[in-house]
Symmetry: C2
């Protein structure tokens, strides 16, 4: 099976009248601004004043704008200069239901989170019953099929670090014929001198992003500035398919690039017999250029991992939470044999992973830390999930996303020297600019015109709006992007 | 200078009448339970029922009790079976002002955290002005002397990972004669094949705990079960001084063990010229056995790091937040030349570190991640700091801690076959049991009698109460511990 076209095909009908917009089941957010309103240059003078003050203590160079936290609503970020900005970036894909959703605030005001107010617990020592209710309730409801076990931590990097640790534990046990560590293994570990474990490897893909702690960073291969000057484990990497879009026009070359990636992966497995604990892959390479692969590709990869006894880890830190049109992006692959581990963070408010029973260590305390997440953020996630279910926000992401990708394709068709390779699943979408300089120019135009966007890889524009992003917001964003195209054409 | 005796010397006056208790400036928490109340075995039937339910999804084997989050108050943890438990462990040292401090709850109810209610931000992209107020206000007020720069992350492990990354960046720049990475360095990094960086090392001490992500775990040397089966960087380790207590009785042998540790550290520096980016040390080894060293020892270590051009990292994840009698444990060392980096987490609610200007990378985005902390927990920390200042809780920890350590010494004197090596700074205290089996028996007695405690290393009992722990709580805990001593004697 090839990538499901989650959009209506190649067209050029980007701008329509409001009555012509696709219908979605998601309600508008009461009180949400009607449109962008730009009052100053962005970043504006109050942002720059705050940046100076902030920059004396923290690194403030990366800040786009300082946000008026309480005035922001729905898809509109309000900055401290009073600019009302349409947000298609969502704090690097972390905003599931927009800003200050009235029902989330009502839950807050109504006391629903008060049990988390009075201290931050070590959840492995003395969690409270409300925590148990959430992990056996909402968290079990959203669990990927076939993965009954849940490990909560705090960030995506910690999710990946612990996921590969679980894979190492399983591989070590298998290598010992089903037994736990020997006394010699324990002694060696205290000297960082375990002959077997130090030979263990995890395969990742070129262009991937899996986090920035040293273990996770050894898997990350998107940008050198993330990695340079830091020691890394000598783990192998495989090229990710260099698919091009629209798919129909490039079917043959895409199949060939996917085949080459699979051959390279197979070669790495063969070159490292008994030492590959896991292969980790993002459903869409969300930082390294929004690279997609076909469902067939992922199914083949899953089979390959099974054949070589390696854990298959779907890193869904960025793709989870519904924006791709399914709660988990890997659902679309139609696997008979689910992934062994699926990681999450970002829209899910804390990090963690789901896994199969056999990836759950037999011994306690091997996958453990002090906080193991944060009940306050997970309690908020419970409400977020309820709102997503009630308002059919995943269906909304699918419908709105189709319209978004279709509109991007339309723009690419009309500005062929500027944009190309429109692609996406749900609202998790992207389009390539001509080159890095054009990417920068377009992002600057978006920013000044009141659209908060972000880059992916060296020349892609990435769309990571909240799941309350509606067709009318698509129309508004595409209008601004079209202006940018005219300018740089 | 030797370790300041922060207690009154060896005595045996463990139990006193209430009127004889030391006076502290800290007020009692209104409504706090007057004493322990045990109604069931601990863990009780409702905890075991919840453990079964919880254990179907998460690892519930490590849970001591399920906590009634809203009924817990001050130093007393109330569990789901209605047991009122005196907490001297504080969720592995994470509870700075006790449970549900009325003024923290008043701030919550009064809307002080409402700006954090409506979404979780990426703090490097669009923080809000309230964040800037906190980091330039309360966080600057508590900053270690000489360390103007602050990096916030989410956990202690991430704090350590990023601290050593900052040290690697600085070493790489020095090795290049002050220049940034070359194109060749960048290309090598994408293949995990940087000849220079892969030779970089960080020195840590045997018995230390620095976290469980693979970089931090390569530094952790407390227990093999944390490390076995996981690949580790081949970084060197040095013995931590094996000091014995009371100090006056062991002064000569303690000086000798400290001298040996320093010689070993010097030898490691010499064996790795130009490759040691940092040396990291806990002021007290809070997981690996509550090992202490003298102020002189740390001052010598700091000088040695300076001489070899390595960053000196004080890992204060567990010791920060006032319980040692100063906000930062390293304050007591009386350094002329401050540490280069001081990490924190636990009582400070989120992870992070303070550092010197030169440890702050010249290039943006090298020390970066999505969340970079959590404004909600930092906003709570701001209130916690205000309460600690107003109620003089650090002074309380000093006074109460003196009484605690003195009382532990008294017990050790009266039960010499059971307890030894009473030690501590402030309430960050410990005493050794005869052997691991005795440690386990005493911890079981404490648990059943309604005292929530924890072990450190293989045979120590660790005290990590909140900073609202008062002499009357010491008296109650010591009474229970004395019963345990009688039982196992």
């Amino acid at each position: 099976m090839w990538i499901e076209p989650c959009h209506g095909g190649v067209g050029s009908r980007t701008m329509r009248s409001m009555s012509d917009l696709p219908k979605t089941p998601a309600p508008a957010i009461p009180g949400e601004p009607e449109r962008i309103s730009v009052k100053t240059p962005i970043p504006g003078p109050r942002t720059e004043e705050l940046r100076r003050r902030h920059g004396a203590v923290q690194d403030a160079r990366t800040v786009h704008v300082y946000q008026d936290a309480k005035r922001s609503l729905g898809n509109y970020l309000v900055d401290v200069d009073g600019n009302v900005i349409l947000d298609v970036y969502g704090h690097i894909a972390c905003v599931p239901i927009g800003y200050n959703h009235p029902d989330l605030l009502a839950a807050w005001k109504g006391g629903r989170f008060d049990w988390c107010a009075g201290y931050r617990p070590a959840l492995g020592i003395a969690p409270s019953p409300e925590w148990v209710d959430i992990v056996t309730g909402a968290m079990a409801r959203i669990a990927p099929k076939g993965l009954p076990r849940l490990v909560t931590v705090t960030t995506g990097a910690e999710a990946v670090e612990n996921a590969i640790k679980a894979a190492f534990v399983l591989l070590a046990r298998r290598r010992r014929g089903g037994k736990g560590p020997t006394d010699a293994d324990l002694a060696d570990s205290m000297r960082n001198d375990q002959a077997m474990a130090n030979g263990f490897k995890v395969i990742s893909f070129q262009g991937s992003f899996h986090g920035r702690t040293l273990g996770a960073l050894s898997l990350t291969r998107s940008k050198a500035i993330h990695k340079v000057d830091f020691p890394a484990f000598a783990w192998p990497t495989v090229p990710f398919p260099a698919n091009r879009f629209p798919l129909a026009e490039h079917a043959e070359s895409n199949r060939a690039t996917e085949a080459r990636s699979l051959e390279a992966a197979e070669a790495v497995f063969k070159a490292n017999p008994d030492n590959v604990a896991a292969i980790i892959v993002e459903p869409i390479q969300g930082e390294g250029g929004d690279c997609h692969a076909s469902h067939d590709f992922f199914r083949s990869l899953r089979k390959m991992a099974r054949a070589h006894g390696a854990a298959f880890i779907a890193d869904e830190v960025q793709t989870s939470g519904g924006s791709t049109g399914t709660f988990w992006a890997h659902e679309a692959w139609g696997l008979d044999d689910p992934p062994d581990i699926v990681t999450f963070s970002k829209k899910l408010q804390i990090g963690g992973y789901y896994c199969r029973e056999e990836l759950f260590p037999a011994e306690p305390l091997r996958i453990f830390n002090t906080f193991l997440g944060d009940p306050l953020r997970l309690a908020q996630l419970e409400v977020i999930v309820e709102i997503m279910e009630r308002d059919r926000l995943i269906e909304n992401a699918r419908i709105t996303g189709d319209f978004l990708v279709n509109s991007l394709e339309g723009l690419a068709a009309r500005y062929p020297g500027v944009l190309s390779n429109a692609r996406g699943r749900g609202t998790f979408a992207a389009v390539d600019a001509r080159d890095p300089a054009t990417q920068a120019k377009i992002l600057e135009h978006l920013r000044l015109a009141g659209v908060e966007g972000g880059g992916s890889g060296t020349r892609s524009l990435r769309f990571r709006p909240a799941n309350v992003f509606l067709p009318r917001h698509v129309a508004e964003a595409i209008g601004v992007l079209e202006d940018a195209c005219k300018k740089v054409a």
